[in-house]
Protein backbone atom coordinates (compact mmCIF):
# COMPACT_ATOMS: atom_id res chain seq x y z
CA UNK A 1 0.00 0.00 0.00
CA UNK A 2 1.40 3.40 -0.94
CA UNK A 3 1.57 6.18 1.67
CA UNK A 4 -0.87 8.22 -0.45
CA UNK A 5 -3.53 5.52 -0.31
CA UNK A 6 -2.93 4.92 3.40
CA UNK A 7 -3.51 8.62 4.17
CA UNK A 8 -6.70 8.66 2.07
CA UNK A 9 -8.10 5.53 3.72
CA UNK A 10 -7.21 6.81 7.19
CA UNK A 11 -8.84 10.16 6.48
CA UNK A 12 -12.04 8.63 5.05
CA UNK A 13 -12.36 6.29 8.05
CA UNK A 14 -11.77 9.20 10.45
CA UNK A 15 -14.40 11.37 8.76
CA UNK A 16 -16.98 8.57 8.94
CA UNK A 17 -16.04 7.73 12.52
CA UNK A 18 -16.33 11.31 13.74
CA UNK A 19 -19.65 11.71 11.89
CA UNK A 20 -21.05 8.51 13.42
CA UNK A 21 -19.97 9.59 16.88
CA UNK A 22 -21.50 13.05 16.40
CA UNK A 23 -24.79 11.33 15.52
CA UNK A 24 -24.99 8.94 18.47
CA UNK A 25 -23.29 10.73 21.40
CA UNK A 26 -25.57 11.71 24.29
CA UNK A 27 -24.38 15.23 25.22
CA UNK A 28 -25.08 18.09 22.82
CA UNK A 29 -21.80 19.84 23.60
CA UNK A 30 -19.79 16.73 22.75
CA UNK A 31 -21.71 16.42 19.48
CA UNK A 32 -20.82 20.01 18.55
CA UNK A 33 -17.12 19.41 19.27
CA UNK A 34 -17.36 16.31 17.12
CA UNK A 35 -18.86 18.40 14.35
CA UNK A 36 -16.02 20.96 14.57
CA UNK A 37 -13.45 18.18 14.09
CA UNK A 38 -15.58 16.92 11.17
CA UNK A 39 -15.13 20.32 9.49
CA UNK A 40 -11.35 20.20 10.00
CA UNK A 41 -11.13 16.70 8.55
CA UNK A 42 -13.26 17.67 5.54
CA UNK A 43 -10.79 20.47 4.77
CA UNK A 44 -8.04 17.82 4.65
CA UNK A 45 -10.22 15.61 2.44
CA UNK A 46 -10.70 18.48 -0.04
CA UNK A 47 -6.92 18.89 -0.26
CA UNK A 48 -6.63 15.18 -1.04
CA UNK A 49 -9.22 15.66 -3.81
CA UNK A 50 -7.05 18.42 -5.35
CA UNK A 51 -9.75 21.03 -4.66
CA UNK A 52 -7.69 23.62 -2.80
CA UNK A 53 -10.23 26.42 -3.38
CA UNK A 54 -12.90 24.32 -1.67
CA UNK A 55 -10.46 23.34 1.10
CA UNK A 56 -9.83 27.04 1.82
CA UNK A 57 -13.56 27.75 2.09
CA UNK A 58 -14.18 24.67 4.23
CA UNK A 59 -11.23 25.56 6.51
CA UNK A 60 -12.53 29.10 7.00
CA UNK A 61 -16.21 28.12 7.47
CA UNK A 62 -15.94 24.65 9.05
CA UNK A 63 -12.80 25.33 11.06
CA UNK A 64 -13.77 28.84 12.15
CA UNK A 65 -17.16 30.52 12.01
CA UNK A 66 -19.36 27.38 12.27
CA UNK A 67 -17.53 26.37 15.44
CA UNK A 68 -18.02 29.85 16.91
CA UNK A 69 -21.75 29.80 16.02
CA UNK A 70 -22.54 26.27 17.19
CA UNK A 71 -20.48 26.25 20.38
CA UNK A 72 -22.16 29.48 21.46
CA UNK A 73 -25.56 27.92 20.66
CA UNK A 74 -24.63 24.74 22.56
CA UNK A 75 -23.75 26.80 25.64
CA UNK A 76 -27.31 28.22 25.64
CA UNK A 77 -29.29 25.22 24.38
CA UNK A 78 -27.18 22.21 25.32
CA UNK A 79 -27.94 21.85 29.06
CA UNK A 80 -31.69 22.14 28.46
CA UNK A 81 -31.62 19.68 25.54
CA UNK A 82 -29.63 17.21 27.62
CA UNK A 83 -32.05 17.53 30.57
CA UNK A 84 -35.20 17.05 28.51
CA UNK A 85 -34.09 15.25 25.36
CA UNK A 86 -37.63 14.95 24.03
CA UNK A 87 -39.29 11.84 22.67
CA UNK A 88 -36.76 9.59 21.03
CA UNK A 89 -38.38 7.15 18.63
CA UNK A 90 -38.57 3.57 19.88
CA UNK A 91 -36.25 0.75 18.85
CA UNK A 92 -38.35 -0.47 15.91
CA UNK A 93 -38.71 2.90 14.13
CA UNK A 94 -35.01 3.57 14.75
CA UNK A 95 -34.09 0.25 13.15
CA UNK A 96 -36.37 0.98 10.22
CA UNK A 97 -34.77 4.42 9.79
CA UNK A 98 -31.30 2.87 9.98
CA UNK A 99 -32.17 0.31 7.28
CA UNK A 100 -33.66 2.93 4.96
CA UNK A 101 -30.71 5.30 5.45
CA UNK A 102 -28.30 2.43 4.79
CA UNK A 103 -30.18 1.78 1.55
CA UNK A 104 -29.74 5.44 0.55
CA UNK A 105 -26.00 5.14 1.27
CA UNK A 106 -25.78 1.88 -0.65
CA UNK A 107 -27.52 3.43 -3.66
CA UNK A 108 -25.17 6.42 -3.66
CA UNK A 109 -22.21 4.07 -3.16
CA UNK A 110 -23.28 2.06 -6.19
CA UNK A 111 -23.36 5.24 -8.27
CA UNK A 112 -19.85 6.09 -7.06
CA UNK A 113 -18.59 2.62 -7.98
CA UNK A 114 -20.24 2.61 -11.43
CA UNK A 115 -19.18 5.96 -12.88
CA UNK A 116 -19.93 7.00 -16.44
CA UNK A 117 -16.97 6.50 -18.74
CA UNK A 118 -15.52 8.82 -19.90
CA UNK A 119 -16.23 11.03 -16.89
CA UNK A 120 -18.14 14.18 -17.88
CA UNK A 121 -16.02 17.29 -17.45
CA UNK A 122 -16.10 20.96 -18.31
CA UNK A 123 -12.43 21.44 -17.42
CA UNK A 124 -11.18 21.78 -21.04
CA UNK A 125 -13.93 24.32 -21.84
CA UNK A 126 -13.14 26.26 -18.65
CA UNK A 127 -9.43 26.38 -19.50
CA UNK A 128 -10.06 27.29 -23.15
CA UNK A 129 -12.04 30.43 -22.23
CA UNK A 130 -9.69 31.45 -19.41
CA UNK A 131 -7.65 33.97 -21.48
CA UNK A 132 -10.84 35.95 -22.23
CA UNK A 133 -11.36 36.56 -18.49
CA UNK A 134 -7.77 37.62 -17.78
CA UNK A 135 -7.81 35.27 -14.76
CA UNK A 136 -5.51 32.37 -13.96
CA UNK A 137 -7.73 30.47 -11.53
CA UNK A 138 -10.52 28.57 -13.34
CA UNK A 139 -12.64 28.29 -10.17
CA UNK A 140 -12.74 32.08 -9.81
CA UNK A 141 -13.56 32.29 -13.52
CA UNK A 142 -16.54 29.96 -13.00
CA UNK A 143 -17.72 31.94 -9.96
CA UNK A 144 -17.40 35.42 -11.42
CA UNK A 145 -17.52 35.04 -15.19
CA UNK A 146 -19.00 31.80 -16.60
CA UNK A 147 -21.67 31.40 -13.94
CA UNK A 148 -21.71 34.88 -12.40
CA UNK A 149 -25.51 34.79 -12.34
CA UNK A 150 -25.39 31.96 -9.76
CA UNK A 151 -22.94 33.82 -7.59
CA UNK A 152 -25.05 36.97 -7.76
CA UNK A 153 -28.15 35.08 -6.63
CA UNK A 154 -26.14 33.34 -3.94
CA UNK A 155 -25.19 36.71 -2.49
CA UNK A 156 -28.89 37.57 -2.43
CA UNK A 157 -29.62 34.30 -0.57
CA UNK A 158 -27.12 35.25 2.14
CA UNK A 159 -28.91 38.56 2.72
CA UNK A 160 -32.29 36.76 2.73
CA UNK A 161 -31.04 34.35 5.40
CA UNK A 162 -29.90 37.32 7.47
CA UNK A 163 -33.34 38.93 7.10
CA UNK A 164 -34.80 35.63 8.29
CA UNK A 165 -32.58 35.69 11.38
CA UNK A 166 -33.47 39.31 12.12
CA UNK A 167 -37.18 38.66 11.72
CA UNK A 168 -37.01 36.37 14.77
CA UNK A 169 -36.50 39.37 17.05
CA UNK A 170 -39.49 40.37 19.21
CA UNK A 171 -41.24 43.46 17.80
CA UNK A 172 -39.95 45.77 20.55
CA UNK A 173 -36.34 44.96 19.72
CA UNK A 174 -36.53 45.40 15.94
CA UNK A 175 -33.70 47.58 14.76
CA UNK A 176 -31.70 46.94 17.95
CA UNK A 177 -28.30 45.36 18.48
CA UNK A 178 -27.80 41.63 17.84
CA UNK A 179 -26.65 39.17 20.50
CA UNK A 180 -25.92 39.65 24.17
CA UNK A 181 -23.74 42.56 25.37
CA UNK A 182 -20.28 41.14 25.83
CA UNK A 183 -18.24 42.81 28.54
CA UNK A 184 -15.14 44.53 27.14
CA UNK A 185 -12.00 42.52 27.91
CA UNK A 186 -9.25 44.81 29.15
CA UNK A 187 -6.55 42.22 29.68
CA UNK A 188 -6.15 38.49 29.54
CA UNK A 189 -5.82 36.03 26.70
CA UNK A 190 -9.03 36.96 24.89
CA UNK A 191 -8.17 40.68 24.85
CA UNK A 192 -4.70 39.91 23.49
CA UNK A 193 -6.09 37.57 20.85
CA UNK A 194 -8.76 40.06 19.77
CA UNK A 195 -6.14 42.78 19.36
CA UNK A 196 -3.30 40.84 17.70
CA UNK A 197 -5.20 38.41 15.46
CA UNK A 198 -7.44 40.80 13.44
CA UNK A 199 -4.56 42.73 11.81
CA UNK A 200 -3.08 39.40 10.67
CA UNK A 201 -6.54 38.26 9.58
CA UNK A 202 -7.18 41.42 7.55
CA UNK A 203 -3.85 41.00 5.74
CA UNK A 204 -4.73 37.37 5.13
CA UNK A 205 -8.20 38.28 3.82
CA UNK A 206 -6.88 40.89 1.39
CA UNK A 207 -4.15 38.48 0.25
CA UNK A 208 -6.74 35.76 -0.30
CA UNK A 209 -8.90 38.11 -2.37
CA UNK A 210 -5.96 39.28 -4.46
CA UNK A 211 -4.35 35.91 -5.03
CA UNK A 212 -7.76 34.40 -5.86
CA UNK A 213 -7.51 35.72 -9.42
CA UNK A 214 -4.65 33.38 -10.28
CA UNK A 215 -4.21 30.92 -7.40
CA UNK A 216 -6.68 29.20 -5.05
CA UNK A 217 -8.49 31.81 -2.96
CA UNK A 218 -11.14 34.36 -3.82
CA UNK A 219 -14.02 36.32 -2.36
CA UNK A 220 -15.63 33.53 -0.30
CA UNK A 221 -12.67 32.41 1.82
CA UNK A 222 -11.51 36.04 2.09
CA UNK A 223 -14.93 37.23 3.28
CA UNK A 224 -15.20 34.35 5.74
CA UNK A 225 -11.80 35.10 7.28
CA UNK A 226 -12.74 38.77 7.70
CA UNK A 227 -16.08 37.73 9.25
CA UNK A 228 -14.26 35.48 11.71
CA UNK A 229 -12.06 38.39 12.80
CA UNK A 230 -15.13 40.59 13.32
CA UNK A 231 -16.83 37.86 15.38
CA UNK A 232 -13.72 37.63 17.57
CA UNK A 233 -13.66 41.40 18.17
CA UNK A 234 -17.40 41.42 18.97
CA UNK A 235 -17.10 38.49 21.40
CA UNK A 236 -14.20 40.18 23.20
CA UNK A 237 -16.41 43.24 23.64
CA UNK A 238 -13.91 45.49 21.86
CA UNK A 239 -16.52 46.61 19.30
CA UNK A 240 -20.24 46.20 19.96
CA UNK A 241 -22.41 44.70 17.24
CA UNK A 242 -24.03 47.54 15.24
CA UNK A 243 -27.78 48.18 15.58
CA UNK A 244 -29.41 46.40 12.64
CA UNK A 245 -31.47 49.50 11.82
CA UNK A 246 -28.38 51.55 10.96
CA UNK A 247 -28.37 52.85 7.41
CA UNK A 248 -24.58 52.43 6.99
CA UNK A 249 -24.94 48.78 7.95
CA UNK A 250 -27.66 48.23 5.36
CA UNK A 251 -25.44 49.83 2.72
CA UNK A 252 -22.53 47.55 3.69
CA UNK A 253 -24.79 44.50 3.39
CA UNK A 254 -25.99 45.21 -0.12
CA UNK A 255 -22.86 46.92 -1.52
CA UNK A 256 -21.57 43.68 -3.06
CA UNK A 257 -24.87 42.83 -4.75
CA UNK A 258 -25.42 46.41 -5.96
CA UNK A 259 -21.98 46.68 -7.60
CA UNK A 260 -22.46 43.21 -9.07
CA UNK A 261 -25.82 44.25 -10.53
CA UNK A 262 -24.45 47.56 -11.84
CA UNK A 263 -21.54 45.88 -13.63
CA UNK A 264 -23.94 43.22 -14.91
CA UNK A 265 -26.29 45.82 -16.37
CA UNK A 266 -23.43 47.78 -17.90
CA UNK A 267 -22.54 44.55 -19.69
CA UNK A 268 -25.77 45.01 -21.70
CA UNK A 269 -24.28 48.14 -23.23
CA UNK A 270 -20.60 47.20 -23.45
CA UNK A 271 -20.68 43.47 -24.24
CA UNK A 272 -24.21 42.81 -25.42
CA UNK A 273 -25.49 40.66 -22.54
CA UNK A 274 -26.37 40.86 -18.86
CA UNK A 275 -23.28 40.02 -16.75
CA UNK A 276 -21.04 39.85 -19.84
CA UNK A 277 -17.71 41.65 -19.68
CA UNK A 278 -15.88 43.36 -22.55
CA UNK A 279 -12.80 41.19 -23.06
CA UNK A 280 -10.19 43.90 -22.54
CA UNK A 281 -11.66 45.01 -19.22
CA UNK A 282 -12.75 41.60 -17.88
CA UNK A 283 -10.17 41.32 -15.12
CA UNK A 284 -10.48 44.87 -13.73
CA UNK A 285 -14.28 44.49 -13.73
CA UNK A 286 -14.07 41.15 -11.91
CA UNK A 287 -11.79 42.66 -9.26
CA UNK A 288 -14.19 45.63 -9.03
CA UNK A 289 -17.01 43.16 -8.26
CA UNK A 290 -14.99 40.98 -5.93
CA UNK A 291 -13.79 43.70 -3.54
CA UNK A 292 -17.23 44.95 -2.39
CA UNK A 293 -18.52 41.36 -2.63
CA UNK A 294 -15.89 40.23 -0.12
CA UNK A 295 -16.78 43.11 2.19
CA UNK A 296 -20.51 42.35 2.01
CA UNK A 297 -19.94 38.63 2.57
CA UNK A 298 -17.84 39.44 5.65
CA UNK A 299 -20.52 41.74 7.11
CA UNK A 300 -23.34 39.27 6.33
CA UNK A 301 -21.58 36.21 7.80
CA UNK A 302 -20.53 38.17 10.89
CA UNK A 303 -24.10 39.30 11.54
CA UNK A 304 -25.47 35.80 10.83
CA UNK A 305 -23.24 34.48 13.60
CA UNK A 306 -24.24 37.36 15.93
CA UNK A 307 -27.93 36.39 15.72
CA UNK A 308 -31.19 38.37 15.89
CA UNK A 309 -31.47 41.69 17.74
CA UNK A 310 -31.67 41.03 21.49
CA UNK A 311 -31.28 44.57 22.84
CA UNK A 312 -33.37 47.67 22.16
CA UNK A 313 -32.34 50.70 20.21
CA UNK A 314 -29.62 52.79 21.88
CA UNK A 315 -31.30 55.45 24.00
Amino acid sequence: MTPDLAIDIGLAVLVLGVAAWTTVVRESFAAVVGFVTYGLLLALAWVRLHAVDVALTEAAIGGGVTGALLLAAAARLGPAEDRTPGDRPGAAPRLLAAVLCALVSAGLGAIVLLPPDPAPTLAPAAVASLPKTGLGNPVTAVLLAYRAWDTFLEKAVLVLALLGVWSLAPDALWGGRPGPAYRAQRDGALALLARVLPPAGIVMGVYMLWTGADEPGGAFPAGTILAAMWILVMRAGLADAPAVGRRSLRVALVAGAVVFLAVGLSGLATAGAFLAYPVRFAKPLIVLIEAPLTFSIAVTLGLLAAGPPERGLPR
Binding site: P3, I7, A43, A75, M208, R235
Partner: protein, 95 residues
Protein backbone atom coordinates in the same frame (compact mmCIF):
# COMPACT_ATOMS: atom_id res chain seq x y z
CA UNK B 1 12.16 12.55 0.37
CA UNK B 2 8.54 12.59 -0.89
CA UNK B 3 7.89 9.17 0.63
CA UNK B 4 9.36 10.34 3.93
CA UNK B 5 7.18 13.48 3.97
CA UNK B 6 4.04 11.47 3.20
CA UNK B 7 4.99 8.97 5.89
CA UNK B 8 5.45 11.77 8.40
CA UNK B 9 2.08 13.26 7.41
CA UNK B 10 0.43 9.87 7.88
CA UNK B 11 2.10 9.41 11.26
CA UNK B 12 1.00 12.83 12.56
CA UNK B 13 -2.55 12.15 11.28
CA UNK B 14 -2.56 8.80 13.09
CA UNK B 15 -1.35 10.44 16.31
CA UNK B 16 -3.99 13.17 16.39
CA UNK B 17 -6.60 10.56 15.41
CA UNK B 18 -5.63 8.57 18.49
CA UNK B 19 -5.95 11.79 20.46
CA UNK B 20 -9.59 11.89 19.37
CA UNK B 21 -10.21 9.09 21.88
CA UNK B 22 -10.23 11.99 24.36
CA UNK B 23 -13.32 13.37 22.60
CA UNK B 24 -15.01 10.02 23.17
CA UNK B 25 -13.97 9.66 26.79
CA UNK B 26 -14.20 13.27 28.00
CA UNK B 27 -15.03 13.46 30.85
CA UNK B 28 -14.99 17.26 31.07
CA UNK B 29 -16.07 19.46 28.17
CA UNK B 30 -12.59 21.02 28.21
CA UNK B 31 -11.01 17.62 27.55
CA UNK B 32 -13.12 17.10 24.45
CA UNK B 33 -12.26 20.56 23.19
CA UNK B 34 -8.54 19.90 23.73
CA UNK B 35 -8.68 16.84 21.48
CA UNK B 36 -10.28 18.99 18.75
CA UNK B 37 -7.54 21.58 19.28
CA UNK B 38 -4.83 18.93 18.92
CA UNK B 39 -6.48 17.78 15.69
CA UNK B 40 -6.36 21.39 14.47
CA UNK B 41 -2.62 21.74 15.14
CA UNK B 42 -1.93 18.29 13.74
CA UNK B 43 -4.03 19.11 10.69
CA UNK B 44 -1.89 22.20 10.08
CA UNK B 45 1.29 20.09 10.29
CA UNK B 46 -0.21 17.46 7.93
CA UNK B 47 -1.17 20.16 5.42
CA UNK B 48 2.35 21.67 5.46
CA UNK B 49 3.88 18.22 4.91
CA UNK B 50 1.43 17.43 2.08
CA UNK B 51 2.13 20.80 0.44
CA UNK B 52 5.84 19.99 0.33
CA UNK B 53 5.37 16.34 -0.68
CA UNK B 54 2.89 17.08 -3.47
CA UNK B 55 4.57 20.24 -4.71
CA UNK B 56 1.31 22.18 -4.23
CA UNK B 57 2.31 25.40 -2.43
CA UNK B 58 -1.31 26.64 -2.40
CA UNK B 59 -2.00 24.10 0.37
CA UNK B 60 0.14 26.25 2.69
CA UNK B 61 -2.63 28.88 2.44
CA UNK B 62 -5.12 26.31 3.79
CA UNK B 63 -2.75 25.67 6.72
CA UNK B 64 -2.44 29.42 7.26
CA UNK B 65 -6.25 29.76 7.36
CA UNK B 66 -6.62 26.91 9.83
CA UNK B 67 -3.89 28.34 12.08
CA UNK B 68 -5.48 31.79 11.94
CA UNK B 69 -8.93 30.54 12.97
CA UNK B 70 -7.80 27.75 15.32
CA UNK B 71 -8.54 29.78 18.46
CA UNK B 72 -12.09 30.78 17.51
CA UNK B 73 -13.78 27.57 18.72
CA UNK B 74 -11.97 27.76 22.05
CA UNK B 75 -13.04 31.38 22.50
CA UNK B 76 -16.68 30.39 21.98
CA UNK B 77 -16.28 27.47 24.38
CA UNK B 78 -14.60 29.49 27.14
CA UNK B 79 -17.22 32.24 26.94
CA UNK B 80 -19.96 29.61 27.25
CA UNK B 81 -18.24 28.21 30.33
CA UNK B 82 -17.85 31.64 31.95
CA UNK B 83 -21.50 32.39 31.30
CA UNK B 84 -22.55 29.10 32.85
CA UNK B 85 -20.44 29.77 35.92
CA UNK B 86 -21.27 33.36 36.80
CA UNK B 87 -24.30 34.26 34.68
CA UNK B 88 -22.30 36.89 32.88
CA UNK B 89 -20.30 36.51 29.67
CA UNK B 90 -17.02 37.65 31.17
CA UNK B 91 -14.22 35.82 32.95
CA UNK B 92 -15.08 35.25 36.62
CA UNK B 93 -11.69 36.38 37.88
CA UNK B 94 -11.10 39.00 35.18
CA UNK B 95 -10.56 42.05 37.32
Amino acid sequence: MTEFLLGAAGFVLLMVALGLVRILRGPAEADRLMAAQLLGTGGVAVLLLLADAGGMPAIVDVALTLALLAALASVAFAMGAWRGAVDDPAPPSGE
